[in-house]
Point group: C2
Chain length 354, copies 2
C-alpha cells in the first residue's frame, strides 16, 4: 500500500483468482472454465465486430438485452448486462447494501462476496453451512439483511431446490435476495419463474461457464424493472460502456446457437458423473454437484498435499485454505480425455504415497 491509499480500505483483502502459472503447460482444472470453444457463430460474430472497434459499443446494449429477453421470456427492461457477472454482483452490492441493509451469506461460498462487502463498506455476517455442506433455508428467514446465495453453491456444487429458494424470498420481502446462478445450467433449476412473483429477487448469471465465454467477459442480471434500473444507475455512474462491441456481438450469437451449448453442458454432466464414480472408487468423498466442478476429499492425503502432488504432474486443481474445507479440492470438469488424465494423475499420487 502506498502512503496515499485510503485508510477507509486498509482492511481490504482482494480476491485471489485461480492461479495461471506460465512456467509449463498445465491441464487446467482450477478455474471452472469450459473445455469447449465458443460455437462457430460466436467466433464469427466477434470477428466481424473487431474491425468496427473505433466506435463505442451501445451503452444500452439494446440488441443483446433483447436477445436475452427473448431467450428467457422477459422484457429487455428487466435485464442488464455487464463486463462479467462479478461486476453485476458488485453493482448490486453497491445499489442495495448499506448500514441499514447489511448482507448475509453462507460461510462457505464464492469468496468474492466478502471482498465486495469490504470494498463497499457494507456490514455483513456469514451463516455456517450445515455438517453436510448444505445451506439450511430457514437460517435465512427474516434475516433483516440482503441475502446473497450462489445456487448451486460454490465450491460445494450443492443446489437449493426451487421451493427452498421461494421460502427464502417470502421470508425476506423487505430485502433483496441476490441469487448467483453462475453454474445453474449444469443441472440446477433457475429461479427465473419466481421473478413474476417476487420483486425482491435479483438473479445473476454469466456466459463464462455454460456458454464457454469466460475470456470474453459477459454477465447479466434479471429482476424487476425497478431493480434493474437501480443497477443501471450504478453502471452509468461507473462504466456505461462496460460491455465491449465484440463481446456483445458474441453474446447475441451464442443465444442463437443454444443447441451447441446444451450439448456442451450435457457432456460436462456426463463427465462429471464418470469422474465422481472414479473418485469414489479411489476412496474419495465427493459432494453431489450440479455444477461443472466437483468438490472432493480424500482421507489418504490432505487437500493441499494432493493439490501440490497433482501440480507437480502438470495438473492444476483448486485448493482453498479455509479451515472448514481445507481437506477438500475443487476439480473443474473438462472433456472425458482430460478427466482420464486427471484420474490417472490421482492414481499416481496414490501409488507414490503407498
Amino acid at each position: 500500500m502506498s502512503r496515499f491509499f485510503t485508510s477507509r480500505l486498509d482492511q481490504l483483502t482482494p480476491y485471489v483468482p485461480g492461479e495461471q502459472p506460465q512456467d509449463r503447460k498445465y491441464l487446467k482444472l482450477n478455474t471452472n472454465e469450459s473445455p469447449f470453444p465458443p460455437s462457430p457463430g460466436v467466433t464469427r460474430a466477434a470477428e466481424e465486430e473487431a474491425g468496427k472497434n473505433q466506435l463505442y459499443s451501445d451503452p444500452e446494449s439494446a440488441a443483446l438485452r433483447r436477445a436475452l429477453g427473448e431467450r428467457y421470456g422477459l422484457e429487455p427492461e428487466r435485464i442488464m448486462v455487464s463486463n462479467g457477472s462479478d461486476e453485476v454482483l458488485n453493482y448490486a452490492f453497491v445499489a442495495f447494501g448499506d448500514e441499514t441493509a447489511p448482507l448475509v451469506f453462507p460461510d462457505i461460498t464464492y469468496g468474492f462476496y466478502p471482498v465486495f462487502a469490504e470494498l463497499n463498506r457494507i456490514p455483513y455476517r456469514t451463516i455456517p453451512l450445515d455438517g453436510n455442506f448444505r445451506i439450511r433455508p430457514e437460517d435465512y428467514y427474516d434475516s433483516g439483511s440482503n441475502v446473497v446465495l450462489a445456487n448451486p453453491n460454490a465450491p460445494t456444487g450443492i443446489a437449493l431446490e426451487p421451493d427452498q429458494v421461494e421460502d427464502i424470498l417470502k421470508r425476506n420481502r423487505e430485502h433483496v435476495v441476490i441469487l448467483d446462478e453462475a453454474y445453474v445450467d449444469f443441472g440446477g433449476v433457475s429461479a427465473r419463474p419466481l421473478l413474476e412473483r417476487y420483486e425482491n429477487l435479483l438473479i445473476v448469471q454469466t456466459f463464462s461457464k455454460s456458454r464457454c465465454m469466460a475470456g470474453a467477459r459477459l454477465g447479466f442480471a434479471m429482476g424487476s424493472e425497478e431493480l434493474i434500473r437501480d443497477l443501471k444507475t450504478i453502471q452509468y455512474s461507473t462504466n456505461p460502456y462496460n460491455v465491449n462491441r465484440m463481446t456483445a456481438a458474441a453474446g447475441i450469437a451464442a443465444l442463437r446457437e443454444q443447441a451447441y451449448y446444451d450439448d456442451c453442458c450435457r457432456k460436462i454432466v456426463e463427465n462429471r458423473a464418470w469422474t465422481k464414480e472414479r473418485l469414489e472408487e479411489l476412496g474419495f468423498s465427493v459432494l453431489p454437484s450440479r455444477t461443472n466442478f466437483l468438490f472432493a476429499r480424500w482421507d489418504r492425503m490432505g487437500g493441499e498435499a494432493l493439490y501440490l502432488a497433482l501440480k507437480r504432474r502438470g495438473i492444476l486443481i483448486r485448493h482453498f485454505g479455509l479451515e472448514r474445507i481445507k481437506d477438500y479440492n475443487r476439480i473443474t470438469i473438462g472433456t472425458r480425455e482430460q478427466m482420464e488424465t486427471f484420474i490417472a494423475g490421482v492414481r499416481e499420487c496414490l501409488e507414490e504415497k503407498a
Copy 2:
C-alpha cells in the same frame, strides 16, 4: 429508484454518455470517436483470440503491460490496464479519496469526475476555469486534496504546459495528482517524463481516442509501482479479469503498429485546423484545441439551437447544458469529408436562419 435502493446514494446522478440514436443514420461527431478503423493487425489479433474465449483472460494482463512498458519505457509493474479509462479513474478515486483526502478539479471538465466522487462518497470541490476557459495552475497549489485534471481538458480542448503540470505536482506532494491524458496524442505533451521525479503522479490514458478502439474498451494507468499496486488492490476487489482476451490481444497489436496511429492522429490534427479555419470564417469563436474535438461558440445561434438544427440534418455534435458553456458545442474531428459535410450543414443552418 426501487424501495431497496440505498439511501447512501439517493443524490447520485449518473453520467450521461453522448446520445446514440438509432432512428436514422447520423454523421456522429458527438462522442470523440476516431473516424478510422483499428489497424489491420489489431483486427486480426482480436479475431485470432475470439475462438479461445472459453478460457479466462490473464488477470495480470502481463503481455499487454509488457508491451505498454516497452512503448513508454516503464517497467510493467508501473502500469495497470483496465476495461476503459473510466474504470481506471474510478479505481483511482476509490483507492486515494476519502474524507481526509478530498478531491479538487475544475468546474468545467470531464463530467464523470463528480459522478465518481458522488458514487464513492468522496468530498470534492471545483475551481472555476478562468475567463478564457483555462486552468490556472496556481489555483491548485497546496490544495490539501487529490487533484484531478484532464490534460488536455475536456470539453475545452485546452492543454496545460509541462512546467505548469510540474508546478502542480511540486505543490501537492502529500496528495495524488491524477492526470487524465485521454486526448494527449493529438498535440498535447504527456507528463510521462515527470513520473521519474514525482511519486504522487498518476497518469491515465486510453486506447479509445488516438488508438481507434473505443468499442474494445481499453484504458491504462502509469505511476509509481506503489500507486499501481494500490489500483490493482481495487481491481482485484472488483473485477480481476476486467480486460477480455480479444481486447488484450488487440491492444498488444496496436502497440506494434504505432505508425498507423501516428498517421491517424496527424490527419485529425490537419482536419482540426481546417475545420477551425472554416468555423472562424463563419464567425465562430473556437478555443485552441489539442484534442480530437473543437469547442466552439456562435453568436448567431445558441448552442442548443445549433445542435438541434444540425441533428435535424443528420449531424450529431455534443451540447452541454451547464450554465457557463451552454453557448458552446463540442465537435468531434472526423475525416476531411465528414468535416466538409459538417461545415456544409452549419452553412445551411446559417442560411435557414437568415
